[in-house]
């Protein structure tokens, strides 16, 4: 029996005004895997990522064609609840962006806005989310402290905890470690490996070593096209497309 894809993307095209940013992208993102998207700046990987939770809808003068299903349901269908979609498909940004509030309030923000499921204790949910984001031990003694006083690496894990608090199915990460030092990066990578036991993760990264270290599958984007998509080990040892080889070995890009 084949595993049902979390996301099935079929012939996705995306335009910013007259400029085509994505061309005929088709791929399947499987559950509880880490899928890394690599490629030079402007190749469309972040645009693609933002299509997966309709974050591009907020950008004027854009158009999209093709189909993206999340567990079989078309996320661009007219009856899609975008708020619910973004709660199921969380996004972690390049730079940590905690709210100027306490650590507790940052994590509690989503559940408060979306409403807590009956019988759920907010304090427990916050603790559980911080534990899952491997931050609990570092902040447990002062949850009322300002989030902005945390180190950048801690702030990024706080943002991950904030995403986890609304119980998503998928976590999208757009260069989540680009502002972090190697130790903080290592912590986030280790966290990703743990999280993939429960969540589907899609990460955009400029670090090919990071893609090689953490992901199960890697997709190489170039000029809006998905040039190659395969097992990460295959991509980094014997890619089948010359352009992929040229990019990952530094011959262009």
């Amino acid at each position: 029996m084949t595993t049902q894809a979390t996301f099935q993307i079929e012939q996705l095209n995306f335009h910013y005004g007259p400029t085509q940013a994505l061309r005929d992208i088709s791929m399947a993102i499987l559950p509880r895997e880490i899928t890394a998207l690599i490629g030079p700046s402007g190749c469309g990987k972040s645009t693609f990522l933002r299509c997966l939770n309709r974050m591009n809808d907020t950008i004027p003068d854009t158009s999209m064609s093709g189909r993206i299903t999340l567990e079989g349901k078309d996320i661009y269908a007219p009856d899609t609840d975008k708020t619910e979609l973004r709660h199921r498909v969380g996004l972690v940004f390049q730079r940590p962006n905690p709210f100027p509030q306490s650590i507790f309030d940052n994590v509690a923000f989503g559940p408060r806005v979306l409403g807590l499921p009956q019988g759920t204790d907010l304090g427990e949910l916050v603790e559980q989310s911080l534990r899952s984001a491997a931050l609990w031990d570092e902040v447990a003694t002062d949850m009322t402290g300002p989030a902005l006083s945390l180190s950048l690496g801690q702030q990024q894990r706080l943002c991950i905890a904030r995403v986890l608090a609304v119980k998503p199915d998928v976590i999208l990460m757009d260069e989540p470690c680009s502002a972090l030092d190697p130790i903080a990066t290592g912590k986030v990578e280790e966290l990703m490996r743990r999280l993939k036991e429960q969540y589907t993760i899609v990460i955009v990264t400029h670090s090919m070593q990071q893609a090689a270290r953490v992901s199960d599958k890697t997709g190489f984007f170039w000029l809006g096209e998905l040039v190659e998509f395969d097992e990460t080990t295959t991509i980094f040892t014997r890619p089948s497309v010359q352009r992929t080889e040229d990019y990952i070995t530094g011959r262009f890009g």
């Binding site: 991509i235 980094f236 040892t237 014997r238 890619p239 992929t244 080889e245 070995t249």
Partner: protein, 222 residues
Amino acid sequence: MDSIHVRANLDESLNALTDELVRLSSKIDTAVDQAMRAYSDCDVDLAQQIIAKDANINAKRFEIEERCLHIMVTQQPVAGDLRMIVTAMNIVTELERMGDHAAGIAKLALRVEEVPKRDIPNGIFQLASQCRDMVRRALVAFTQRDAGLAYAVADHDDSLDNQYRMLFHKTVAETRDASKSTDHLLSVLFVAHNLERIGDRATNIAERVIFMTSGKLTELNV
């Protein structure tokens, strides 16, 4: 400043690595050639020189391995570059062992000194010439990234093995002849065996060249 070539450092390192391997293979070729001469001429001095030089070959092997590790650590190569370096590490091990085989033949040259009326079969020199040729061609396949030539090297190993088997049976049969020195015939067998192993190692290099060019790990001449 002219345009920046981002791979310049890596390309230089890979080229230097290739040059080192070619130089080492040339040393092996010389060692095998000289070992056969020392054996056929009972040249003790030459044999001792070859045995002494084997230590240099062993040292060179570690130097080349260090070079590979340095490239891996500093450049984090992937794809074709990674396969090339992994291949280089395999090749250097095969070359070093070939050096051991040459030294093995030289050690036999030290022992045959006292055997009178030595009759060295011509086939053994043909074996030597062919296995040296296989090593040279395996290295060309590596430097030229020529999978076709690598397959040809492996094919040639079948013929080398057949010649070795014929020589082996003929020599074993001669041991029943009381007029012939068993020590000498055994030394012929040992020399032939060392040469046959060099052929096998050339085939191993060919397998690695196929891995380097295609990414496929294959065993040739199973």
